[in-house]
């Protein structure tokens, strides 16, 4: 599709949906139209030409305000594009604007609503990016994940979301919150588009669509038991569909020392966030929301020895995980608690995503299923290889259909 047509289609969706969905912190149709014209006139329009991009408002942009979802930074305009933004633009994607983020990519939500039902949260902290893609206002959108900020909103909004292996996409120009966890993630409505972004951002090879059914792991245990019936039903249905289509689904149990790290991710995040946001805490405590201030005060009191213990355990666990996952292409697990909560004052729990972010392994949300009231419920595939996980997501995504 021509970039100009893609922008027109996205702008029609903005006209129709944005007043309720409120996905954009800043939207610049004129710039998008002008850039699209340049892309369409280019002799080398780039691999992402024809895709409209939304950028979570925690990535710096030189030509659009960047407020990090914080009252402290209203009207702030950085002096550069973050590396990920610059790479996507250089590849021909047309940036339509900045999408709403929870405050400093942490707890307190912005105004975005779930495109499938406006009284429900879109999830967070990449709220606007997931919602914009779900509502057709962008084809692809950048997010981040420090706990569950990409996979969870993707599940709630019914789009594909991907968090690559930690460290494979530069975080330069991203507002860092917890540097050992902060990972660039993104959203799309198809796996090929999701993968095209990965190829540009990481320089790695495209995934190879599966010609044979995959071997999938099924991670049983505590976490599944704590999900809503909707998420349990979704994962069971996904597994059944996979088997019906010839996949092997193999039970996998994580060693207790790996599983137990899940509950420690919050400690790492809080510890690092309190230190990374020292300036904001010191100079503008009054402009931080009370829940964020409380989180940072808690993080400031996490003891370095406890933090170091979790980091050491994580390095060990990451090596152990490769052994646990050795026999499968990807592992099926819960993406989010269930349907999006009917509450715009929260973004749902990242509990099903924390472990994978801490371990730095790739995770993808596969949409297609729905819960009891008809809202999207995704399933999460995790693994140790980005391309393998995406290939499984492509295979499974074509086969799961709304219940």
């Amino acid at each position: 599709m021509l970039a100009g047509d893609a922008v027109r289609r996205a702008l029609e969706a903005v006209d129709e949906r944005e007043s309720v969905v409120r996905a954009w912190a800043h939207c610049d149709p004129d710039q998008a139209i002008a850039v699209a014209r340049r892309v369409d006139e280019s002799l080398q329009p780039g691999p992402l030409a024809g895709l409209v991009l939304g950028v979570k408002d925690v990535f710096d942009t030189a030509d659009m305000p960047t407020a990090y979802g914080s009252a402290i930074y209203q009207g702030h305009v950085p002096s550069w594009d973050a590396a990920a933004v610059a790479m996507l633009r250089a590849a021909g994607a047309v940036c339509l604007g900045k999408t709403v983020t929870a405050e400093l990519a942490l707890v307190t939500p912005g105004p975005t609503t779930n495109p499938h039902r406006s009284t429900h949260t879109p999830g967070g902290s990449s709220s606007g990016s997931a919602a914009a893609v779900a509502a057709g206002m962008a084809d692809i959108a950048l997010g981040t994940q420090t706990a569950g900020s990409t996979i969870r909103p993707a599940s709630y909004c019914g789009v594909f979301g991907f968090k690559p292996t930690y460290g494979t996409v530069s975080v330069a120009g991203l507002k860092l919150v917890a540097p050992s966890l902060d990972t660039v993630g993104w959203f799309a409505r198809t796996v090929p588009e999701l993968d095209a972004v990965r190829v540009v951002l990481t320089g790695r090879s495209p995934y190879v669509p599966l010609t044979e059914p995959p071997r999938l792991g099924w991670l049983r245990g505590d976490d599944i038991d704590r999900a809503d019936p909707d998420s349990r039903a979704a994962i069971e249905r996904a597994a059944r569909v996979a088997v019906e289509h010839g996949a092997d689904v193999i039970d996998i149990e994580l060693p207790a020392d790996i599983q137990s790290l899940s509950s420690k991710q919050a400690l790492v995040q809080g510890y690092e966030a309190a230190r990374s946001l020292t300036w904001e805490r010191t100079h503008h405590p009054d402009l931080l929301s009370p829940p964020l201030r409380e989180l940072l005060d808690w993080g400031a009191n996490v003891q370095p020895a406890e933090y170091d213990g979790v980091r050491t355990g994580t390095v060990r666990a990451r090596a152990g995980l490769a052994r646990s996952f050795a026999g499968v292409d990807a592992v099926l697990t819960v993406a989010a608690s269930g349907e999006a909560p009917a509450d715009l004052n929260q973004t749902g729990t990242p509990r099903f995503n924390r472990l994978w972010t801490l371990l730095g392994v790739p995770a993808v949300n596969v949409p297609g299923l729905t819960g009891a009231t008809g809202l999207p419920v995704g399933v999460q595939l995790v693994g140790c290889d980005d391309a393998a996980v995406l290939a499984c997501a492509g295979w499974l995504g074509e086969r799961v259909l709304p219940i």
Copy 2:
């Protein structure tokens, strides 16, 4: 010492030395005097009260311009203080200004000269910070190390320099170049001051001065053989002095797979820098120096598979290193090639620092010795524990004297 007195003493040094040393990219005496007054009037002046701080101009500061040593960013004023700056200021350090950095903390030097002989390089990329501390224009100064940008200038300028374990100090608000390597480092004229900064920035406990002579490793092998006679003499003398004072000095040989990684650090740095600086490369190639442009073009062509191989090897080597270093408190090795080169167009080679940065382990430069022409030549202590390495540096630093 009162903060006001410390600032006055630093300003006298600025008056006397700065016209030749040129350590400052921005120096604000009025602000420093005003802040020092507030510190001295405070009931809780903080653990770093009485210390004057220089900040490498790759750390964002809300009240001082931050140009990253780049023509692209002349006059740029960020909207916050980098986490490390905010933590040091909150602890009572008085920031006198921003110190000269090589262009974007990479190759092309700024105007700083070596305080010991102005025709010689101070080293880089933390040129101004090392020189400011050496010339008495600051008591402590923030730097960074991605290859050898803290330890090397510390050696050339004859001050203590410390690079802590990777990930222990937040890089939020630092201009990232190679995020998997970029480490906050710093300079001081004494080990207790060096350690006081560590306690504030990392929240870890102070080091305990040694009451018994340490067990030191001596890393023989290729790298020592490639150092100048001055550096070889310095390390031999340091080892002899240590033995004379009762230390055990034990030969350590690194496994070949660890040693060989040293030559791969440049590949990781180039790969990541080319991607992290995408915006600069895309929008302002004409404002990058030719050597930097060349480095980034080279880095852009490093293949992801090769990069991934080095990263995987590094994780394995880091685990192996702990075994190699198990029997000693710290390991004595070369800090820099020798005396500072008599060339202001280069900053010397980081070859003796690359491996330790890649492995993310602590390193300290111990000053006190000199080379054939009387310029400083440091020795480097590395290890696996920040406090242990600093304790050894304190012990050794009191015992080595100029040859």
